[in-house]
């Protein structure tokens, strides 16, 4: 196996190339947030922390952030705008009216 290089996906010679189209490392350097033209926003006043958006997000673009309330461990969704492509699935799937809304990117 060639030496791991975070960003390298094209190699000089066949002998250095993996046999299949595979990155040698994670692709997390490939920040896809610039693809977004619609920006989902979470209204934490309405969000119940059900985490449906986190389950449905097709990218690792919604993190589950741990916090404590009344001595209990809880989670809330936090959108990672470095990776969010703005597909809107979280907005469609959110069961609480208005807990996730979208705005045009750049507003």
């Amino acid at each position: 196996m060639p030496e791991k290089t975070e960003k390298q996906i094209v190699f000089d010679k066949v002998k250095d190339t993996p046999p299949l189209a595979v990155s040698l490392y994670t692709m997390d350097y490939n920040k896809t947030g610039s693809w977004r033209n619609v920006r989902p926003v979470i209204d934490y006043e309405k969000c119940t922390g059900c985490m449906t958006c986190w389950k449905f997000c097709p990218e690792p673009a919604i993190d589950a952030e741990k916090y404590e309330e009344d001595g209990k461990e809880k989670y809330k969704p936090v959108i990672d705008y470095e990776y969010c492509k703005g597909c809107g699935i979280c907005w469609v799937e959110c069961p609480v009216e208005g807990a996730i809304y979208t705005e045009e990117e750049g507003e």
């Binding site: 196996m1 190699f11 190339t17 299949l20 189209a21 595979v22 990155s23």
Partner: protein
Amino acid sequence: MRKVMIGNHALSYGAKISRAQVIPAYPITPQTEVVELLSEMCANGEMDAKFIKVESEHSAMTASIGASATGARVFTATSAQGLALMHEVLHWAVGARTPIVMGNINRAMAPPWTIWTEQTDSLAQRDTGWMQLYAQNSQEVLDSVIQAYKVAEAVQIPAMVILAAFVLSHTSEAVELPEQGKVDEFLPPYEPEYRIDPANPHAFGGLTGPDGYFELRYQIQKAIEDALPKWDEVGAEFGEVFGRKYGLIETYKVEDAKNLIISSATLASTARTAVDTLREKGEKVGLLRIRIFRPFPSAQIRSILSSVDRAVVVDRNISFGASGIFYQEVKAAVYNEKNPPPIFGVIAGIGGRDVTKKDIIDIYEDIMRMDEPKSDIIWKGVRL
């Protein structure tokens, strides 16, 4: 242990004894018994494998690729329209270098709807990069599944084990089931260098431009070339362990043959009996059976053809606008030789029309009366 089984079940037992771990499959006549038996064996615990019911053959192959990419040993099976529906992802399986083994029952393509045998379904997949093996009896089917995993996993290229609809798929024969312990020794678990593993993340199949794609395709060609000697090695090793030796090609009475019949699969079995009868009549005739079609054993075929005066290829398939497909490949293999013999191309048995021993004898006697091949197709058995 000897067991009476149909050709389809020889595929199922081949997958079981090879310890296939994931079987995504969709039923289609005449393949259905293959996956029926496998689903039963997964359900009753005879196999430690996951059977995935899918909604189409495209999904069967897609799930196979995903499972194989995790490092699982994967088996599936299909036929005709099902194989055609997989076409897009057959390319994907090769590019992803997933050594899936798939049974394909050769069935003629529709329309009109038909279920009888012909090789055009699998031969139409020849440029996908899948290895293709044409078996002639149920014992070879079972043995070939085991060998196919060994070769496929060594070179990271998927393989099809192909059998004729009904003639083989539904014919019962006594088949020797190898001992599980010996098979485990012959075929150790699959351990790929790259696999989907959350602890060691990679991106698979991502966008690759002209600066990277070419080298990946070059490697596929090199890998499938490496498989050529591998099939003979693995076939010979199989012979040492299990007493039945296999190779890229099989020859019968070619040592002193002046004329050669070339064919594949069950047609070659019929041709073998025709050779015996022709020999009794004093003909110096031999048989060359092409067992592995991809990678194509050109050198082996050249070496046999270098010592004969003429050859006839009997194809149960057709590339419309050209000719029989084995015929094209055999001709191409010898074209650059100094004095290649004339090669005649016969198309017979299309859509499962019976090809008898007498038909093969007639074909042979007809081409012996000809001076040279006048066209790329000599039709046998079509009512003109």
